[in-house]
């Protein structure tokens, strides 16, 4: 057992973990944060994407011990406390970026990591950033439209 300290969605957390746990296991199975999904457990589908120190990572391949002293953002941390959706979440809702929804949290987190670091990302950059997130429902068309609309909204003064 190891004790780790990390920042999760703005809150400082101390947690006793087993060394072999993945971050995905810690979040989902131990902490009950079910928003982060497991689609393959093998780093191939991106459903488990979270942001660690501003980088989008596959939490199924990331050991929980490595989260020590890191800043972690998950899908649960995006909406504001009054329930208002993050512009990316709202854009995915409004533009049909969500069907079955299983890829959506990962898709939104990958998009957020990109736009946080590169607010003017080109279409090619968006496609590149989302290449590791598989979606079987949408054909990606409305997902890319969602990110594009969110980008414009955020550039126009919408909060990030």
């Amino acid at each position: 057992m190891t004790i780790i300290n990390f920042k999760l969605n703005g809150d400082q957390i101390e947690y006793e973990i087993k060394d072999h746990w993945t971050l995905l296991h810690l979040l989902r199975e131990e902490m009950g944060l079910i928003g982060t999904k497991e689609g393959c457990g093998n780093g191939e589908c991106g459903a488990c994407t979270v942001i660690v120190d501003k980088l989008a990572i596959n939490s199924c391949l990331y050991l929980a011990v490595d989260a020590d002293r890191k800043t972690i953002e998950t899908i649960e941390g995006l909406a504001s406390t009054d329930g208002k959706l993050h512009p990316l979440q709202q854009s995915f809702v409004d533009n049909g970026g969500i069907q079955c929804g299983f890829c959506s949290p990962g898709m939104i987190m990958s998009s957020k990591a990109l736009l946080d670091s590169n607010p003017n990302a080109s279409e090619e950059e968006v496609k590149h950033a989302l290449a590791g997130n598989i979606c079987r429902c949408t054909g990606y068309v409305q997902i890319l439209e969602s990110v594009e609309a969110a980008k414009k909204h955020m550039a126009g003064g919408g909060q990030s």
């Binding site: 899908i75 809702v93 049909g96």
Partner: protein
């Protein structure tokens, strides 16, 4: 067309009702559900494609602390068999017939212990020669997959002959003939399969499971209980939010029945959750096909006959894949006008995996052969490819040789819409090609089962809110929205006033399932029927209040009023309270069961399967790299006749998603199977399109207003992936002059064909 007048809610781009919940990570999938006392089940699969099970020793595994129970084929009641052909016990006994055969199952307190226990089960096999090629399996000297069946060819009725094909062939000016093959592809639902089964103290079963067919699954599970000696009990099927369906959940699976057996054996809720490798190996694929086709036309290009024969690799067990010929018959007999048609399909047991329903249900396979050979025929006859399609197009009022009554039909307009966006026959650069292909699909239900019905129960509260309990199943496609929009439109409410309750057999009425692109049409009509009944009572009550006749009253935007009379207006919720809290008060409730006026196929396979049919045409521009054989899709138009768009936002989502799924089918996707073994059970080696490969798809909507559809609508769930493969194949031929007849159209195949072509020149 006045039927297509602007409406308040129907026709609007209203976001998916559960999208915010999903965007916030609050949607609960089977992966997310934990019940008190729940334990974990795992399944052990065969090590061989074909082998006798000599001995199973579970003693070491049983002794592992945390293991609650272990089951083998010996513990499965004899009559517990899955699938319509009843050839598939949930755990196999005596012999295994494919790598995905379930041979033992464990329930343990943690998934890790269950997995460890599987490794400790010792099984002694005696390997048998396998048969993996369905055409070889048809030969009399082939090893038998199931000895009791006497032959590898299944006893199924897939045969029809209308008109006189042989005579028509003789009289044809031009005839083409080709052999096509299509591959195994798999659904790749992002959320893997899973179920939780639990029995209450009275032996009633509740099962939370990923299904598209709550009512038919309930029947399957009741049969399992009966086989287990548990009779006259209740089965409650609850489908949580699921991470995609696409047909994969149209039949019950072994894991669901195994969860039931384990839950009964250890008296605890048992969860079986697939991992991705298991999802690839132990769920069912699209039906692969070997297709022999001949088509002919007269000197003007009018189709004279179509003659098709298929061999379908059934795998070792039988699920809906073996019934896909029933839907293949639709394009075969009814895509374009063709009077003389013959078709025969043989489903053949092999030691491969078995197939299931998959978006389009056989239609993409048949349409690939039909539309590819139509281009070949056009070339042979010297007729423009678009022209031959226009010449033979279906038209409203047609009755096809199979007895399909074409009500609305926008095929012609769909071809127009493709041509508006893309010049199919225009000048082009080297390596660039254009392709076109059309489709017909069921658009008004599909009477495959004895009933094609859907029930709905609607109740209104004192505050103007509606709960509608529907038999329809949402799996991400938007059945919930369509239901809510239809009810809101009819009752003059807003979408947020409508709560759609679905996928729980304890509270929702019967429905045959989310398949055949039928939810908008059938569940939509069921909801509309219930709403109309309630509306009639509301209008009657309002008429008394206002002192006018009901037909003078309008319900809109939460208000009920007499147009032009400012005195006679009130909010709907106020009226509801008035009706409720009066002497002999009333609550507004209604039920409605809609069973479409379509027909089961007769012995001759004739019958109007669907109340109405959906049509479409796709156009594609590709670039073929002659050095590498790589096909790049540059532009795509998918025009669909949808009757009426209830929600264009969701409709486009269905088309875009269908097209990309179809492009995967055409170009990249294949479950690689070697001697029965799945070789690429992961997303690295199973090639799905990613966001990087995404293309801009134009999706013009043709609204023909179908008189039978709710507000004129027809189904659109499946059509997007139906004509994609032939459109691509036709474009590749147009670009570089090679005809690829086996899917997927990989660079290797294109390059080999190009080299072959060079050699022959």
């Amino acid at each position: 067309m006045n039927e297509l007048k602007e409406l308040s809610i129907v026709g609007k781009r209203i976001p998916k009702l559960d999208a915010a919940k999903k965007a916030m990570g609050r949607a609960e999938y089977i992966q997310d559900i934990k019940l008190p006392g729940m334990v974990y089940g795992k399944i052990l699969y065969s090590k061989y494609a074909h082998a006798n099970i000599v001995k199973i020793d579970t003693s070491r595994a049983k002794a592992l602390p945390g293991v609650l129970c272990i089951l083998t084929g010996d513990d499965v009641p004899k009559k517990m068999k899955m699938g319509f052909y009843k050839d598939n016990p949930p755990l196999k006994k005596g012999k295994v017939c494919s790598f995905r055969d379930e041979v033992a199952a464990v329930a343990a307190t943690t998934p890790e212990i269950a997995k460890k226990a599987l490794d400790m089960i010792e099984i002694q096999y005696e390997e048998l020669p396998g048969i993996f090629d369905p055409e070889k399996a048809m030969q009399p000297d082939s090893p038998l997959v199931h000895d009791y069946h006497k032959t590898n060819v299944l006893n199924l009725p897939w045969k029809l002959h209308y008109g006189d094909v042989e005579k028509a062939e003789k009289e044809s000016a031009f005839v083409v003939e080709e052999r096509f093959t299509t591959q195994w592809v798999t659904h790749c639902c992002l959320g893997t399969s899973g179920a939780i089964a639990l029995f209450d103290s009275n032996n009633n079963l509740t099962i939370h499971t990923n299904t598209q067919i709550p009512s038919l699954a309930q029947k399957d599970f009741l049969e399992s209980l009966k086989a287990m000696g548990i009779e006259n009990k209740r089965v409650r099927v609850i489908k949580p939010i699921i991470g995609g369906g696409f047909g994969s959940k149209l039949d019950s699976y072994a894991y669901e029945h195994v969860a039931i057996l384990l839950a009964h054996a250890c008296r605890r809720p048992v969860k079986i959750q697939f991992d991705r490798v298991e999802e690839f190996k132990a769920t069912s694929t699209r039906q692969p096909t070997i297709i022999y086709i001949k088509q002919g036309c007269d000197k003007n290009g009018k189709l004279t006959f179509r003659d098709m024969r298929m061999v379908l690799d059934n795998g070792a067990y039988t699920s809906w894949g073996a019934t896909t010929p029933s839907v293949m018959m639709m394009p075969i007999t009814s895509l374009y006008r063709v009077e003389n048609v013959r078709y025969e399909a043989k489903c053949v047991y092999t030691n491969n995996t078995y197939s299931q329903a998959f978006r389009g249900y056989g239609n993409p396979q048949a349409t690939f052969a039909i539309e590819s050979t139509l281009d070949m025929l056009a070339e042979k006859a010297g007729i423009d490819r678009v022209q031959i399609r226009r010449l033979n197009r279906n038209q409203p009022g047609d009755v096809t040789p199979q007895g399909f009554k074409i009500s609305s039909c926008g095929l012609s307009e769909c071809i127009d819409a493709v041509e508006k966006e893309m010049v199919i026959n225009g000048p082009k650069e080297k390596g660039i090609g254009y392709g076109i292909a059309s489709l017909i699909h069921v658009g008004g239900g599909a009477r495959i089962y004895k009933s094609d019905g859907c029930g709905a129960i609607l109740k209104m509260d004192d505050y103007g809110k509606v709960d509608i309990f529907t038999g329809g199943t949402d799996m991400g496609q938007g059945m919930d929205n369509i239901t809510a929009q239809i009810v809101a439109e009819e009752l003059g409410l807003l979408v947020e006033d409508i709560n759609v309750v679905h996928s729980d057999t304890d509270v929702c009425p019967w429905d045959v399932g989310a398949h055949a692109s039928r939810s908008t049409f059938v569940a939509g009509n069921a909801a509309l029927g219930a709403a109309k009944k309630v509306k009639a009572v509301i209008l009657e009550e309002a008429a008394k209040t206002f002192g006018v006749s009901p037909d003078q009253i309008v319900m809109k935007a939460r208000n009920i009023f007499v147009p032009g009379d400012a005195e006679k207006t009130m909010t709907i919720d106020k009226l509801l309270r008035k009706v409720h809290f009066s002497p002999q008060g009333k609550m507004l409730m209604a039920d409605y069961f809609y069973d479409p006026d379509n027909e089961n196929m007769g012995k001759d396979m004739k019958g109007n399967m669907s109340v109405t049919y959906a049509f479409g045409a796709h156009g594609v521009k590709v670039k073929v790299d002659e050095e590498t054989g790589k096909v790049t899709v540059l532009d795509y138009v998918a025009a669909h006749d949808v009757g009426r768009a209830i929600n264009p936002l969701l409709l486009e989502g269905q088309v875009y998603g269908g097209v990309l799924m179809g492009l995967g089918y055409a170009l990249t996707e294949e479950v690689v199977v070697r001697d029965g073994k799945t070789m690429n059970a992961n997303f690295r080696d199973y090639k799905l399109f990613t966001a990087k490969d995404a293309i801009k798809i134009k999706a013009p909507v043709v609204e023909t207003y179908d008189e039978f559809g709710p507000f004129g609508a027809k189904g659109i769930g499946e059509p997007g992936c139906v004509p994609t493969a032939p459109a691509i194949a036709n474009a590749v031929y147009d670009a570089v002059g090679v005809r690829i007849t086996t899917l997927p159209i990989t660079p290797e195949k294109v390059l080999a064909a190009l080299m072959e072509k060079k050699k022959n020149h």
